[in-house]
Symmetry: C2
Subunit: 184 residues, 2 copies
Amino acid sequence: MSPVTQSLTLEEFLKLPETKPASEFIHGAAIQKPMPQGEHSLLQVELCEAINQVAKPRKFARAFPDLRCTFGGELIVPDISVFRWDRIPIQPSGRVANRFDVHPDWAIEILSPDQRQMKVLSNLLHCSGHGTELGWLIDLKEESILVIFPGQRVQLLRGTTPLPVLNGMALELVVEQIFNWLTL
Amino acid sequence: MSPVTQSLTLEEFLKLPETKPASEFIHGAAIQKPMPQGEHSLLQVELCEAINQVAKPRKFARAFPDLRCTFGGELIVPDISVFRWDRIPIQPSGRVANRFDVHPDWAIEILSPDQRQMKVLSNLLHCSGHGTELGWLIDLKEESILVIFPGQRVQLLRGTTPLPVLNGMALELVVEQIFNWLTL
């Protein structure tokens, strides 16, 4: 289970040194994410690549792994945060910002073994409640993906069901394809 | 984790001897529920009592613990199944039926430690997709309740938030009240 420290404010939390794996700030407590394992790590990078491959050349969106996103009084670190191009925070120099104080447009979480699944779902519902268009909760064990649509509507998808992506994104994936990536 | 037997049909599964704890038939596999522990057991009976206390005298509804419900090609055994009075299957003699081949109107699941939380959520979404008006997923560890509304819309409730019940049911509960029942 995730180690929990004492109750503190978001501002206090932001002053703490960063941890590895990242810590999130949820409901007044710092909670460290579990150390990613092989399947988790592979899926995270494969999915980032698949998204960026179609979304980057067209300047449509970008996928960021393990990015700290602060909004709605919480700081969460989705396994993958996808931002539409015009919503990526940038510095006056044109470089990408270091602090993302905005919600992602699409948040993806990959369940680790022994991770509190309801806590991860809670993070995705926090996103959905603050404007995130789409959430994916990937369950490696059940080979299913819980999709969170606007209005906190959810759907559990399996097998050859096509997966919803950001509106306008030219990416076609079915559920079992995602889990096939795990076989080298 | 739940023991899984080989793939079989629902009709084959129904011919197997019953197990204790109950087994469910989900996606072509028999999966046994975990052995309930103290908190789970206490909450199950308290909640049944609270519901029946208001719903039985008015012949509005009844709460059944660990009832086998077969519909949509699966057999699930929610921790609590609530049926509106006129939907309770009865025998010609007027007695309650032994086989419930209908969806409950309200399904409640209480997460056990180490239980596959997404599997339990999947059962509640199966109910919702087949006409169940309301689902509750009670997380003892996080002291939160995930509520499933029609259209598979979900909401995570905590603290002093009032809990939705069946339309027309005269039962008023807030989230923390449920968890306070655990303190004798």
